[in-house]
Symmetry: C2
Subunit: 194 residues, 2 copies
DNA sequence: TCTGTTGGTCAACGTCTGTTGGCCACCATA
DNA sequence: TATGGTGGCCAACAGACGTTGACCAACAGA
């Protein structure tokens, strides 16, 4: 993985670019959009604030570059339909535990419209297609995917952002034991009627 | 309800104080803590920014005064144990629909530590006691309350803050039909084991 | 060796922020 | 009619913000 997948030539400044992105993710994840200042990001990356502007144009561009992410959701065709719930929950948990991009995205999405738009895009492009394949009636897929995302993002919110102590202390396996049936239910159970 | 419940004397400036609080709630709910500037709040309340300082000390004090809230959760003793889930979900939905304080609290809690602390306090003082009375083993109450809050706050997040279209368009009754069993399950179902 | 490009620093700009203090108008009381 | 408090506006402060452009050092190809 030395060469990038794209054909972009290696530049001498790649290390600096990476340092900026890394610092940006950390500050956005910890502080949100407004309080993650370019000056603070530059200081953490040990470079001058003007470098951020040169490489990423402006703060919005930096944010966009910092939170590009692929959820790498499992292929629905590759797993039994009745295990989709557990697979989704454990996948989200591990993604969230070792990837601060997701926390950054959530923190920023709540107060910044570009961030919220990014989250809606991820929902549409990554979770919705999975729901369309898994749930019984494709017409219900958007609503079912929304329910799933409400439970998964709600867990991330209380555990990683608001840090409710009981939510933060729950063991991952216990979370999976509780949430997997819920998510499975939202995906495949018959519509409860109104 | 002309006289307040406390014995504080009526002041000529009470209308202004109310206008400030109202504008503050609206700005905090729409913009979050940092972007809800005192100047913007003052402009919306049609008064001078310095009045905000005189009446509420500083921005933190204004926020604290603006988001003081009682969830008015139903008394667990007054409802059948197996209807707690539905009661909680419908109560939260109506509270959230016509009270922008909750949106303000959520938006601010995500990026401001005082806001997060306030949310933890509400969780501890209002949801946790209810869980202690409803769920079978009081020792599990914190974890069960955390699960409930993850689902309820997750719904608020996707519906009112991030505004995922399918989540925002769901009919309240349909939300209740889906979420009530989940919440009921988190509160009273036997522990799923690890 | 000369030259153009690239990586990087420094100092400053205009603007916006929370916050402060001075000043004026009103109103109740004496 | 004087007087003290209350409600309100105005102008300014110091600091932080995103952003810009001038300037310097190192390296590549001729």
């Amino acid at each position: 993985m030395n060469k990038s997948t794209s054909a972009a030539p290696a530049r001498r400044s790649d290390a600096t670019r990476r340092a900026i992105l890394e610092a940006a993710r950390e500050r956005f994840a910890a502080d949100g959009y407004e309080r993650a200042t370019i000056r603070a990001i530059a200081q953490q990356a040990k470079i001058d604030p003007s470098m951020v502007m040169r490489y990423y144009g402006n703060k919005e561009g930096l944010f966009a570059a910092a939170v590009a992410i692929d959820l790498k959701l499992p292929d629905p065709a590759s797993l039994p339909r009745d295990e989709a719930g557990r697979a989704l929950v454990t996948h989200f948990l591990t993604m969230w535990e070792d990837n601060e991009v997701l926390t950054a995205l959530l923190r920023v999405g709540v107060t910044n419209d570009a961030g919220a738009e990014r989250m809606r895009g991820i929902f549409n492009d990554q979770l919705l297609p999975l729901a369309r394949r898994v749930c019984p009636d494709p017409e219900q897929a958007p609503a079912r995917a929304a329910l799933v995302s409400s439970q998964l993002l709600g867990l991330a919110l209380t555990r990683y952002v608001l840090r409710f102590p009981p939510a933060a202390q729950l063991h991952p396996e216990e979370i999976a034991a509780w949430l997997a049936p819920t998510v499975q239910h939202y995906l495949t159970a018959p519509h409860p009627g109104v």
